[in-house]
């Protein structure tokens, strides 16, 4: 058992949840605001997609997007000198893409449950749309949003298929915990795999508990 997969996974999951959280929130509030019901449904469908595809397939897509011979990959490589494939950022990209729908959907449900009167009241109190979002909508939707965040974090932490595809499985660089588990299992080292599993479980358990703790404290005005 090694330390590096743990550190890499923690780093990846933390950075990923940061992006997923923000992207998910903004996608959610953007979709909630769309007036046309049709457009809304279509956007919703599209944003939920990464969830229905097996992660490996998502990984393939990502590989095709970021491949050095593909437009985006070439652009990144030639103009910014960044090669995504097999780099650590690729683990983050994979985690973000795969966990995004969880955050988006949870946040959307939570936003839709918020009492519209409060939003209106905030507007008449001259809060800017941004303030309305951060100070009223978000806190009101907190349970749902936190729930989505936990889901997304956990999913990012456990992400494997897409990560393996675009980030590879390089020790000290892109080998995350799930990948280490996979490698050990594949190599028949069930004991080591077991330790890694316990570590993944412990981390996610701690995160769930901590998040609950924080959001319960936050929410203690509701008796």
């Amino acid at each position: 058992m090694q330390l590096s997969p743990i550190l890499i996974s923690l780093k990846t999951a933390s950075v990923a949840i940061f992006f997923t959280f923000l992207l998910g929130l903004f996608a959610a509030q953007w979709v909630v605001k769309i007036q046309s019901k049709k457009v809304k449904m279509i956007m919703d469908g599209i944003l939920t997609l990464p969830l229905v595809l097996p992660p490996t397939v998502v990984g393939f897509f990502l590989l095709f997007v970021f491949g050095v011979n593909r437009p985006l990959g070439r652009f990144l490589l030639h103009y910014l000198g960044v090669r995504i494939i097999f780099s650590w950022p690729a683990t983050v990209i994979a985690a973000v893409v795969v966990s995004f729908p969880l955050m988006y959907r949870s946040a959307r449900g939570a936003f839709e449950q918020v009492d519209q009167n409060l939003i209106m009241a905030a507007r008449t109190l001259r809060l800017s749309e941004r303030q309305v979002f951060w100070r009223i909508l978000m806190p009101q939707a907190l349970p749902g949003v936190v729930g989505g965040g936990i889901l997304a974090f956990a999913r990012g932490l456990g992400e494997f298929g897409a990560t393996a595809m675009i980030a590879g499985n390089i020790e000290n660089r892109t080998r995350t915990l799930p990948m280490a588990i996979y490698s050990e299992v594949a190599a028949g080292n069930m004991d080591t795999a077991g330790y890694y599993v316990i570590i993944v479980l412990t981390i996610s358990f701690l995160v769930v508990v901590l998040t609950n703790y924080v959001s319960i404290k936050e929410g203690n005005h509701e008796k």
Partner: protein, 234 residues
Amino acid sequence: SQEEESVITLAAAASLKNCLDGELIPMFREQYPEIQVEATYDSSGKLQAQIEEGAPINVFISAAMKQMEALDEKELIIKDSIKALLENKIVLIVPADSDTFIETFEEIVKMERIAVGDPDSVPAGQYAKEALINLNLWEIVESKASLGTNVTEVLNWVAEGSADAGIVYSTDAAFTDKVKVVAEAPAESVAQIIYPVGIVKSTEGEEAARKFIVFLETEEAKAVFESYGFTANQ
């Protein structure tokens, strides 16, 4: 001698992880401290796709010629670097505590639940299919086979008794004592199973990569491979 530091990235079939990570890479590092080896292990098909998409890989060890040839066709591999490195065998396995009594490869058809790697994606499955076709058994087997998406799956199905028998590499069978090898595929039924090695083109560490391949072909490396159930190719 204070040579320039260099890093090579090795992409190898997952079945090689134990012997490479566990022994060969440390041995190589001892001889060439200035060369750092980073390794990634996955199914050969995936590695192939990754190389095609420009993953920064220097050395590729595939579990079958197919992937190497495909890459070679696309001119992604330095032609003269491709070498048959190892040989593996496919074997018929049953759960260790199985009371079914079969002794030959052909008797696989007697089993109800058979585990084979998916010939489309798993090299071991490809070879198994080839052998069974040559033995005129594939149609029967296919109808009751569960096609594993990787060798690990196949191995575990048999180890857990979920499948009554399975076909895997002999090296995989060595991972666990929960399965026992009943028979090897008859020699004439299947082509030699070659693990080729090659250097990926347009990479910087070509020199170091060559050193690594040379090292893999040394006698001491071959001894290690053999201790893991491979046959070093002569």
